[in-house]
Symmetry: D3
């Protein structure tokens, strides 16, 4: 992981100590006092279907924790998973992993929730690229983690530099905020300054809903920037009825009538899978969708860890079937 | 913040840099190139009602960022807030805060979502203590942050050491996991070892659903530990119908009939506000509720930051009313 | 009635002849052949509650038809009526009224339906004036009739000259259509010409959603016309999200901030009672509502005419109770 | 049009003057004062799918208004139309048509609403003829217009002489009203008089629910009129449960058992498409359906007229795409 | 019980033997083999609220079975009971009652279900008498049992002689069936014969919907029987729309207009509580309601018997609380 | 029928007398007084689709009543029937059958209702045997009748000796009740005594939810009885979440892991068709289902008897078609 730039060992200490549910520490303490440390097999399963994410981080933590002992089987990062499917199986002395249960479950829960929500939006978009820009809706320590998960779920880009790096993308995606246009006091002035001052590899995409009706502003900007304009972004606020299918079609038609056929249209503002489906079904000529809250607010997918074998013997609590759960999709990771 | 134990200045760099939406960096770069850096007033408002949380972190970041310049007004950590209420107002040169918008919004969004969900459960419990133990459902970097928010929302305890510390509680809450009992192979054996080995200030609360019917096991444990038993925990799995009102009443009655009136009953397992309300309405004799996913999976509350004044003049984008929004509840923080 | 400017006798012929259901003509013909023409009492009742309208026209037709014979009792134009209440009772030789049943029922049905729908919208507006302008949604022969009914139901104005005359209003209500602004090519140009050329008693109310965002255009027009501007009309199309509560509040705020506190706001576009209630509940500062389809498309209220006495004896068909239905609200009209 | 028997020029004056929304008159007045009268192209589209009706009247008005100038394209009377399809396009100097917008829209709105509702009922009847007799539910000036639209929508007959004439039918449809039977005091007496006195081309169809149970009365009438009886009409009132599938089947069976297999059964009374579908689905032997309110109360279909070109240049208001909307189904009418 | 006219001892043998669930016989056999026959306390509770019925029969069976041993507490026949309330408690050697559980539960289940449904209809009737005549909808061995329960639930009469006897009524209620009128071929002929031939204490109530419309037939019958006519019964079939509020009002009005104010109106045909409520709410002048299927088809109320003490010690299965359930409403019966 | 062991003649007297609706006795008395006793044809039809049951009893009653006169056509016991299908036709002098209508209808109504409900559950079980044990939910005079109907509807077994006899089964089905285990105080002790003392042809099926968790108890019992154990019964109470799919799968797995693959699993407790479908859909390894209330509480199917011919002439009341209803499925029974 990234923020802390901590060595893996320190991170492991954090996960086993201040970030672990204290009753796991009770267990390890009591077992040690009783002289018990058998090899156990634990299985981790999800409570609903989705896209598995967070496994890369989980395996990294396990590698540090096991130090060469034990065995780990898992599904791959990004794999689809069914409800109650076992996605991870760890066999080791209990003392090595007992206090890691909180962290391992949490790594999978958050990221799988985000990746699954992203997958739904991406499928709704039916081929039109979707950009995740919801970092503002989660704690900044995990904003880039969320964006990585969104890309694992199918997003074509994300907004923060670290999110892009985690996801292996060449650079983050972004245009300009309303604040910049408000400070310039006019969209065309802002657009000209942006065009003049930004490096060449930043696409000239101008936000056109700050001061004027979007159709009018789009034509003013297109006249001002000419061929250098890559696209306009529509982010119409709720108070003006959000971006509608008809608005996109009209802006497209008016740009085309004025000869600006190469200018793309980028849509954002309260989008979720049902609204994206409406744009697609209506044939709205959208070049990309920007989605924030619909991915960032995805509920985590609950994971559960079960002891299934103790010292080679099948054992489980009431409600679970003792012994290993067959899953041929798992493969040996460590 | 805690995990990284980073100096405030490094954390500020992280928030403005790798964790910031890149278009804010475009804005700051372009404005600087154009020689513009006016004093602006930004207002932050929430998109739905709830409990404000994350403000303590937000103010700490702003203090570092402003370095004595500017002014900040806000509501207090834990304050109730109405839909679309302005909870934070910052006046400063734009260059000092432009790139912090992502982080500030995210700090408020996640924590306010969790605190608001906790409040709902706590109100449902009508006076019976609620313990948060959902750290396992969020990324471990923010597990303790979530638990702090749960306590701000009214929870009486939480499960991780760092969560307890952030929330100013003397110690985390926790009993023993199923894993420990499975490794001992018998609940009574596990309970006796726990009693013998744990420090005296850890309450003896024993999980009684691992191997046997809860009523039978509760009586076995009570016989074995006698007066030292503080309580039993019911965490019946879904496969056995979860904990029901009737189960709690029966365990209470059987404990009472055997003379164990002082033994408390702690309930957990898939609880949310509606289920807690059912226990309360039916008069089930519960001594405390443990709640995980219902708080941890709370969607963030969306916050929005608006430029409302530029160089002392009211200015706003379409859809927003220029100038300051009156809110007598705000007070000067910095 | 008005269109034809026909003498009452010609209109009566029309109603009894080409516009009458032919089976009434069969009845009159057969009865005459059989030498039967008793005095009958017919009662007219409505099938649902509402506002009675059309009675003025009905009484005028009956006066011409009875020529001094017979008796007529009725409720007043505009009276509230309950479901299945008798609103009209006619006693005369059958031959005088037999062929008028179609016309009398139709006069009451259409107008009572419109007046009832208008009443619902007017009540939703809670004191803010409502203007009917739905003539375009009904056949032009009855457009002014519909507008008269809307005023009977409580509307403060209507849009056609004949409608206003029928309703006893000094003049019709109206501003300017989009077409006029489109032909001028600019809203301010159109507004200045309108102000210069229209008689002084026509209020200067300017439509501000044709070319630009409403808030921007409202300010341009207010600057151009100054004190002479009575109001702006918001008629935002569906493609731009229709007029919202927030739009009205923002336009009001921006006009006020620029010193145009006397300029009113007139709202139209797809309004019906539920949407009007939303504006009222949210405290949107609307000066009047324009309503079209919600009144014009009101279904007619069904009326039924029953023979209840023949030659002084109670008589009725199966399903109806013979003899007069007591209704102390009826009073003698002819 | 018919009632007024006005010369086309007088009707045109009525439509442009007292029946027009006054703001169109403001527009024409202001434009004239400003010396503007460009050639414009206006397009008329519907807001929902249905059967186009009223176009014959609309074209007649336009012919008078244009006096040979300009061009008109349209769909045919009775054509199916899709939601938001352009059904009429007019190119002319604005002064010729500006004040006609209210009338043209209204002509199409009412009649298309009625024709569309009739189509639904006719399709429900699956081949059994449907007769419109709802003139009593609309203002008598438009009763025959409504019946014409019902026939355009597929009805096989209608009840008023003028309605039949407008629709090109040889004669109106009708039997005898309850009033006639009540005045005779007995259904058989009434039927015999009707048979003796009515011209030979009026079918002998007798209403059989006035005094006695329908099955009993049908047999009495059939015995009395013998071969001359064309059919019986069932119009059972709501108080007797309306006409049911079982009643039709029983009357059919009892008539057949008594040898009256040639006597038809005509059903009326509160019929709408769902009830007609029930009769058809249950195989009830109905010879024709009489439908009133279900057609007469159809809401109008909203039409909108948009300026799309001014002096040969594409131009439109916000929300609409400037220039002509392609529709290959339109053909030149004037 | 009645049908068999069996001595109590034979009935007891039937209940313990061929009519008992065989596993109770297994239990008694095994316990006897093991030499176990402790005194047990069994409690019987209902699974939903209602009117307790069948207790009279249950106590009679218990008296025979216990032969003076043991103790029985219970609620009274006809008492209201809450969901899960203990309504019967038996203490005795297990061998005396073990095989009676099926019968005791069944006696309470069927009758309590019927009484509870009757209560709902009776309450709906708000004081107008309700007659139960649903014996035809249950097996004839229990038809009179059902009628007894209906009277316990509040019905004023029932239709079978044995039902009336069980319920302590002087005689059963009944008029004449359609069959009798069909055999006479005319309602008036049938009524006259009935009046002439039936004993004086049978009220002259004549069914008036067999051949003619009810209103017509009611007047014919009233003219024929004069003062001797106690009432008319309306039982209009579904094919004629069942009896409606309007029909009752019209028949009442027509009888009154002809001077037959003393003739009552008795309504039947598919009545249930909601329909009865409609008649009452609409003020229909009904003199009594006849209800069949709505009572006869009532689902039984499930009862459960639990061992709660064995040899004086609290004992119960999982899910139940050992020991007696406090219920001060119980009183000693045997 | 069975309980009373009455001679057929006495039963007939009971059905015609104390158990008959008294108005049929009025009819027979009046007709006799008037000297009328024609041969009539009566048809019996059902008001909804289902499985016909009770016909065997009905034909037995008719045979006794007709004494060789008349004719009877019917469908077979157990035949499927459509809504309103004629299932029985009787031709005889009216005096022979007039007073039997209540009994004949009731015999068919109750049993057809039960058989139809059983059919639905049996179809839900998709081949897994269903045992009826709901005798405790109906009056014990008809408990065995209900069980017979359940077998006609497809059940593989039932619980009372007389029910089994009526249904032609070799013996009733049953294990052991909770009461027996409670009296022994331990499930294994009870099971051992049962095994030792019961005849060899009673399958050793042990109830395993009385004192301990089902999985634990099932293993204890299996160890104790070894090969002699035929199965375990799961009847988990509502307070413990009822039997779930997961519980069945886990008990199966734990039995298999311990080598008890031949031990079956029998499931009961609040089962109805939807819950049975869930078990089947989820592949739960159930060996048989025990169903009580879902069959026993089935509402009766209403039957109606109509006179359709009198002395060879078609005749019927209003609402019915005179004469015989064609139904080629009927065949001559008597």
């Amino acid at each position: 992981m990234v923020v802390p730039n901590l060595p893996a060992a320190e991170l492991l200490d954090y996960y086993r100590g201040p970030a672990a549910d204290v009753y796991f520490q009770h267990a390890v303490h009591t077992l040690a006092g009783a002289g018990l440390d058998p090899v156990v097999t634990m299985e981790f399963f999800c409570d609903r279907a989705g896209v598995l994410c967070g496994m890369r981080e989980a395996l990294s933590v396990l590698q540090e924790a096991l130090g060469g002992e034990g065995e780990v089987w898992a599904l791959d990062e990004g794999a689809p998973m069914e409800a109650r499917e076992v996605v991870l199986r760890v066999r080791s002395r209990y003392s090595l992993i007992g206090c890691l249960e909180t962290a391992l479950l949490g790594l999978l829960a958050s990221s799988s929730g985000w990746a699954t929500a992203a997958r739904e939006v991406v499928e709704a978009a039916a081929g039109t690229p979707v950009i995740s820009f919801g970092a503002r809706h989660v704690h900044p320590l995990v904003g880039p983690v969320m964006e990585h998960a969104a890309v694992v779920g199918g997003c074509a880009g994300c907004a923060t530099p670290l999110g892009a790096k985690l996801a292996g993308l060449p650079r983050p995606s972004g245009t300009m905020p309303h604040a910049m246009i408000l400070l310039f006091g006019d969209t065309v002035k802002a657009a000209l300054a942006f065009d003049q001052l930004m490096p060449g590899d930043v696409p000239r995409i101008v936000l056109v809903d700050t001061f004027k009706d979007e159709a009018e502003e789009a034509l003013r900007v297109a006249r001002a920037l000419g061929d250098r304009l890559r696209g306009v972004r529509l982010d119409t606020p709720m108070e003006r009825g959000r971006v509608t299918v008809e608005l996109v079609k009209e802006v497209r038609a008016r740009l085309d009538q004025a000869g600006h056929r190469e200018v793309g249209i980028f849509v954002s503002g309260g989008l979720d899978a049902p609204r994206v489906r409406q744009f697609v079904a209506a044939g709205a000529p959208v070049n990309s969708f920007g989605v924030g809250m619909a991915i960032a607010s995805a509920p985590p997918i609950g994971f559960t860890a079960d002891v299934k074998e103790v010292a080679g013997e099948p054992r489980a609590k009431r409600g679970r079937i003792p012994g290993l759960t067959p899953n041929p999709r798992l493969h040996r990771m460590l």
